[in-house]
């Protein structure tokens, strides 16, 4: 059983309430932090090796240390709770079932960064979750953990909720800040980075929900203790939201030493593939990261078991590897169609493109159209090359990483499952009623490495 730092108390009855959360040891990190020097708190987070849990995996302590501190200018902490990456529902789980953990993390982190007013930007669709958080915020305030002069420390802090209104792009931090200013969520050109010029032109740190929650055990137990969990640069624990054709979809907290195979087949986690089917493919880190066929998922190209951590999932780069991403783990069984699945992903990116950069605005539309053509049995062989060409022209040519996120799944689907695309073209009627079988990808490893 993996050590749990975030979810260990999630099943305690009444943990949503301040009273129970406090009785179970909650808000100790605030008491401890308020007695520390802010620089020392940042140091602990650096030592912990914590990496941003939203998808990019950037070291959190380093991000915090970049925050500019000009005299007389307000600084802001903004929590990114705009969880929208297909396959990802871990932040919702934290906020819905243990809301005080995020609020505790927000207060501790706000103190470390010198933010007297902090915001939680929650996706608009999580309407009832916002109510749960608001109730928890009200309780925290009634109990003196928010407001003026918290616990007599002289530190003032307010945390406000901000509900988005349905835009995946607002998960990109500069788009999120634009949205927080009451505008369209159009990503900004960087630099300047938010740490220098963020919301309303003030220095701002934007962190994911899970990242901020992880600050709590780091302060409680120390950065070194946190760094001892896991392996290499994958320290601490990570939440994985598992979905698709598995027996036990849900949110799991893992220490990053377990293998992908154990994660999929162990009863402690996914519990194996549903309905006795076989594993075909998996997207291990949310819709943006490359899909991997079963053989490359379970073992790296070097033949080593693949582990559920940043380094191992990325082993082989995008040719034979993938990425930890946001921890959205989407499993496809042998009956699933990779072309159809990738089509829905491309439709998603087309729908969500903010329209600011031409390669993305136009390219995502092309991707969706060509996919639809192939998926509905009207495709030609040259369409597969056209898909490849279009995604290549999006990647790296946009202001924000959205373009890459739209391109990568398409590239990986063609790279590993080209014969499935070809089968659609060659069998225009059959592909409407039947999915391409399993046999084709057994040799995938050889094909891509030769």
């Amino acid at each position: 059983m993996s050590k749990k730092l975030l979810l260990d108390k999630i099943n305690v009855p009444g943990i949503k309430t301040f009273e129970v959360y406090r009785r179970e040891g909650g808000y100790q990190s605030v008491e401890k932090a308020l007695k520390m020097q802010t620089g020392d708190i940042v140091e602990e987070v650096k030592k912990s090796g914590l990496r941003g849990r939203g998808g990019a995996g950037f070291p959190t302590g380093l991000k915090w240390s970049f925050l500019a501190k000009p005299e007389g200018v307000a600084r802001y902490l903004v929590c990114n709770a705009d969880e929208s990456e297909p396959g990802t529902f871990k932040d919702r789980y934290l906020m819905e079932f243990i809301p005080h953990l995020l609020i505790e993390g927000m207060i501790t982190s706000s103190f470390a960064l010198g933010s007297n007013v902090s915001y939680i930007y929650i996706r608009g669709e999580y309407d009832w979750v916002a109510d749960i958080l608001q109730a928890a915020l009200d309780e925290a305030k009634q109990n003196g953990f928010l407001g003026k002069n918290i616990l007599g420390s002289g530190f003032d802090c307010e945390v406000y909720l901000y509900r988005g209104a349905g835009a995946y792009i607002c998960g990109e931090e500069t788009a999120l800040l634009e949205s927080l200013e009451g505008k369209r969520g159009l990503p900004r050109i960087k630099p300047p980075f938010p740490a220098v010029k963020g919301v309303w032109g003030c220095p701002t740190v934007v962190n994911n929900v899970e990242t901020i929650c992880a600050v709590v055990p780091i302060i409680n137990e120390g950065g070194d203790a946190y760094a001892k969990i896991g392996v290499g640069k994958s320290t601490g624990t990570k939440l994985i939201s598992a979905c698709g054709n598995i027996n036990k979809p849900g949110v799991y907290e893992i220490d990053m030493t377990i293998s992908v195979e154990e994660f999929i087949y162990s009863d402690e986690y996914c519990g194996g593939i549903a309905n006795g089917k076989r594993l075909k493919a998996c997207i291990p880190g949310g819709s943006s990261v490359p899909i991997l066929p079963a053989n490359l998922l379970l073992k790296t190209a070097k033949g080593e078991p693949r582990l559920m951590n940043y380094e191992s999932l990325a082993d082989g780069g995008f040719i034979t590897g993938s990425s930890m991403g946001s921890g959205g783990f989407i499993v496809l069984d042998e009956d699933q169609c990779v072309v159809r699945h990738t089509y829905t992903i491309s439709r998603f990116y087309h729908h969500e493109s903010c329209g600011q950069c031409s390669p993305c605005r136009e390219g995502t539309g092309w991707l969706e159209k060509i996919f639809k053509k192939i998926e509905t049995g009207k495709g030609e062989m040259k369409d597969i090359d056209l898909l490849w060409d279009v995604q290549r022209r999006i990647e790296g040519n946009t202001i924000c990483p959205f373009g890459d996120a739209a391109a990568w799944p398409v590239a990986a689907a063609i790279r590993h499952f080209r014969d499935e695309f070809e089968w659609h073209v060659l069998n225009p009627e059959e592909c409407l009623v039947r999915n391409f079988g399993l046999a084709h990808y057994a040799d995938a490893l050889e094909a891509v490495t030769s």
Binding site: F89, A165, E181, G182, K183, E352
Partner: protein, 166 residues
Amino acid sequence: MSVQFSPEKLDKINELISHYPEGKHKSALIGVLHIAEEEFGWLSVNTMDYVASLLKLQPIEVYEVASFYSMFNLKPVGKYVFEVCQTGPCMLKGSDQIIDYIKQKLNIGVGETTEDGMFTLKTVECLGACGYAPMMQMGKFYKEHLTPERVDQIIEECRNNSARNN
């Protein structure tokens, strides 16, 4: 101007504005548009102009935001809006069949409203409930683990005015 918020909603709006620094009241816009949808069901040009005057913004600043975010309805919708997720993880669990079932059951297409004004069907992209797929949003709440039987039950609850979360 024909639209007007109730005093309670105006209080809520002033509370929202107080969350932001002096002069940064535009940040309250999305929140105010949510309140407007709650109050009026959808965002008409009249409503958006009213919001603009309330927040001392140009109407275009409101239109451009309202038209960017997919949650805002710029056309009237039914009393109950079924927003069925159709992205990858939900597709794997049969969202296409659920959408077809609702279409047939309510005799409407995607984007349409039933003649009695009760139901609107929309398809949406990932709502962050992938482990509980297939699913849809209905107003404030998520309806998860959908099956045709569950859809029947939800429709029945709506008709009896007893719809609730999950």
